[in-house]
Structures are given as structure tokens and as C-alpha cells.
Amino acid sequence: MLKRGINIITTIIILIFLATIGVSLLYLYQKSTQNTNNFYLHTYVQNLMKSATEASILNVLGHNFNNGCPTELKINDKLFNVTCYYHFYLTNCGNCKNCTQINTKDTNGSFLITVKAVSKIPGYPLVESKTTIQNP
């Protein structure tokens, strides 16, 4: 009887084996890339939120309070939508709506800034927020 070479079953087994190795390698590679992306985005959004806080302070400094208080500042970044919300502590709120009236003169003009960053990237539903108290 003529001796055959590798039969079809053996070929399929070898193919499945190779494919499993290939898929697991691809899976690990993809996970590793995803993690690197996550790190990048986390660091990016942290830095962005710090910058946004600084920008919103500058916005308050340049605001004419005779027209009421600023309520929010929107920053359109290439990767995130950033919104900074204000809340003021004033001894006299006047026509400022986002304000709580306080009695401490030393802290008059303090304000809360809540920075909220929402990812615009499909597949990365990342939302970060941070609140700080700014003193006058």
C-alpha cells in the first residue's frame, strides 16, 4: 500500500494549533495596546483638567460681575469635551444665580470649580470629574 503523507485530519489539527497561537498573540497584543492607550488617555485627561481649571480661573478674573456670575466654561479639546461649572460663595450674591450667601468676609469670593471631561473617542467611554475650591 502506498504510504500517504500528512492526512487532512493532521493538517486541520496543525492549522487549529497555529491559529490558536496566532489568536492568543493577537489578543495579548490588543490588550497591551489598549492598556497603553488607557494610560495615555488617563494622563492626558488629568493634565487637561488641570489646564481647564487654570483656564476657568482666568475666565473668572476677566469676567465683568455686573452682568452676573459666569456659570460655565466649555473647552472643546480634540479628544475630550470639557465643561467647567462654577459655584460662588459671596457675602452678597446680588444677581449671581449660582451662588451661596456666606457671612465670612475673609472667604468672600471663593468659588468651586467642577471640571468634567467626557471622551469623544468611540470605544473609550471615559468620564472624569474633579472639584476644587479656589480662594479669592
Binding site: 492598556n35 488617563h42 488629568q46 456659570t71 460663595y89 444665580k97 472667604t107 475650591i133 480662594n135
Partner: protein
């Protein structure tokens, strides 16, 4: 007539083919070995990434200068059992006697969930669970000797804070009481004082002079949510004659202390356990922790430092079963958490 091969030709062919086989097998073995090493490095890399994320999340909202290092021996499980000989502020531990001698890291942090802001459609703005903003002019002294005060926290919703913490505690099968909370009166940017670490937060039986307990609270709801406020009666956990502990403009709400405790595993590497849900301000140490969970495994190096109020972490994760030319296969990471 057609001849077969001569003996010499067969020998010659055998030598050549055996050379091919030897080289081929060598290449094949190397390829398989390289594949395995590559695979292990990828797995370790992934593991290191996950560990870095876990640590980053853990050190989120950590209160600067409340981090301490506990002195103990890892090898005989003294660290794991809470038998420590000394402790010091992590910021003051120098290069020479760093983590090798102070392997347990303890710190206070604000719960990640209490900085909760919900959108209020009437006001068209986010409402916080608590602004942690004290209107100092309204502060009343209830008992001068006990340093007991009544403070007014403006634009605040403490019941929301307690409900969030209650859910968090319930997730771990624990019951929550606001009586166990500690308030650290301080500005958000305040780094605290390193020199007073041994009488500020109650670590290892020392006095908790800087921390206040909440005796009572009352939530006032106003028609305008901007004017919602909490009236708290607070007093320090410990009082020392002559030392006045007083409220400041803002504060931290601390629901637990945290400890990262190393333990040697059967591979001779370190497993890091996270001990939490314990209250140093109530004379508890980390061995009283209600939750002790395995946090990181098979580390060959784990160093935490506090530099200028930022946390620095340096760790290596190792594969205990694989060696290359006698050298351990490990992946290391260094990072800062600001």
C-alpha cells in the same frame, strides 16, 4: 540498467540532511523558546499595566502627608500580623532606610465616591454631595475645654454623603455609621505637617489630635438648593490641654485608613495585601482591618515614596516559574501619582 545510490552517496546525503536537521531543530527550538519568553513578557506587561492602574486608583484622593511607613520584618510574617516596631512619615524616610525597613505603607484617603455631583435641572448646574465649604464666621464654640464646635457647611448634602458611603460599606458586607468618620480640617492644597505625624491621625495608638468626630448633624433644605446646608457638631477625637484644634475653611471626610502589607509567598516573592476599613483615630491598627484582600501578586520589588506631596511607586512583577540564563523574567514600572 538503472543503478541505485552508492554507499558513499548515501553517507554524503545522510551527513548533509543531518546537518539540515540539526540546524532546523535548533532554529525550531529557539523559535519555540523565544515564543514562550515573548508570551511571558507580554503577560507580565499586561499584569504590570493592570497593577499600575489599581495602584493609581488606590492613591486617588490620598491625603498628602498622612502616608506612613511601618517598620517590621516581612520574612517571619511580622508585617502581615501587624507586629511593627516603629513607624514614620513616608516623606521623612530617607533613601538609606527606605522601604526595605519600612515595608508596610499606611495612609488616609477620601473615598473616591463622595465627590459626587448630580445634575440639577431646575438650577441648570451640578449639585455636590458636599462642598466641604465652612462658613467660618458662623462657627460657634459649644464647649471651649473640649474644643467642641458647631460648623455650617454651605451648599452641602451630608445625607447624600452618608448614603453613598452606606452603599459602599454594604458592598463589602459592612454596616456604616457616620460616628466612625473622621474630618480632617484643612485646605485642599494643604500638605499638613510631617513633624506631627505621631500625634495627628491616631496611627498605632498615638493621639489623633488633628481629626474631628461628628457628634450630630442636621441637614437644612432650602427652597433654593444653593442655600442647602449642613450644621455639624464636631470635636477632636483626642484632646490635649493647651492644644487647640479648630475648624478651617475646608476639610476632608475620611471613612477608613488603608494599608498595603507585603507577605512572602511560596515562590519567595511578595504578595501585597490591601487592608482597609479600620479606624486609627479609634485606636485601631491595620491588624483590626475588617477587609484584608490580596491586591498584587508575585512582586520582586515594591517601593512607595512620598515626594513633595506626590506618591511615587516603583514595582517589579516577576514570573516565578521561568528563568532565562538563570535570570528572572520580570517587568518593572515606575510612576508618579499627583
Amino acid at each position: 540498467m538503472k543503478r541505485g545510490f552508492s554507499f558513499l552517496e548515501i553517507i554524503f546525503a545522510l551527513i548533509i540532511s543531518s546537518l539540515f536537521v540539526v540546524v532546523g531543530l535548533n532554529i525550531m527550538a529557539k523559535t519555540i523558546y523565544n515564543y514562550r519568553v515573548n508570551y511571558e513578557y507580554r503577560v507580565l506587561n499586561l499584569k504590570a499595566n493592570v497593577y499600575q492602574e489599581k495602584l493609581t486608583n488606590l492613591f486617588k484622593n490620598v491625603i498628602p502627608n498622612t502616608i506612613i511607613g511601618d517598620k517590621c520584618t516581612i520574612s517571619n510574617n511580622d508585617c502581615f500580623n501587624g507586629n511593627i516596631t516603629n513607624f514614620d512619615s513616608l516623606a521623612s524616610i530617607t533613601e538609606k532606610n527606605e522601604n526595605s525597613q519600612y515595608p508596610v505603607i499606611e495612609f488616609l484617603k477620601e473615598n473616591n465616591y463622595i465627590d459626587y455631583f448630580a445634575w440639577n435641572d431646575t438650577l441648570k448646574q451640578n449639585i455636590p454631595s458636599s462642598s466641604k465649604f465652612v462658613d467660618l464666621a458662623d462657627t460657634k464654640i459649644i464647649d471651649q475645654n473640649k474644643n467642641e464646635y458647631q460648623i455650617f457647611v454651605k451648599y452641602s448634602d451630608f445625607p447624600k454623603v452618608f448614603s453613598l458611603l452606606n452603599e459602599y460599606f454594604n458592598d463589602y458586607g459592612l454596616s456604616f455609621s457616620y460616628k466612625n468618620l473622621a474630618l480632617l480640617m484643612s485646605g485642599q492644597q494643604d500638605n499638613g505637617a510631617i513633624s506631627t505625624i505621631k500625634n495627628s491621625y491616631g496611627y498605632n495608638g498615638t493621639p489623633a489630635l488633628k481629626l474631628f468626630k461628628i457628634l450630630t448633624y442636621k441637614h437644612i433644605i432650602s427652597s433654593n438648593p444653593n442655600n442647602n446646608e449642613d450644621i455639624l457638631t464636631i470635636e477632636p477625637y483626642n484632646n490635649t490641654t493647651g492644644i487647640i484644634t479648630q475648624p478651617y475653611q475646608t476639610f476632608f471626610i475620611i471613612d477608613s485608613a488603608y494599608a498595603l502589607v507585603p507577605k512572602e509567598n511560596s515562590n519567595g516573592l511578595l504578595d501585597i495585601y490591601l487592608f482597609h476599613f479600620y479606624y486609627p483615630w479609634e485606636k485601631e491598627t491595620y491588624k483590626n482591618a475588617r477587609v484584608k484582600e490580596l491586591f498584587l501578586t508575585n512582586l520582586s520589588k515594591f517601593i512607595v515614596k512620598e515626594i513633595d506631596g506626590s506618591v511615587y511607586v516603583d514595582f517589579c512583577v516577576e514570573n516565578p516559574t521561568l528563568k532565562i540564563n538563570g535570570e528572572a523574567v520580570q517587568v518593572c514600572r515606575e510612576f508618579f501619582k499627583y
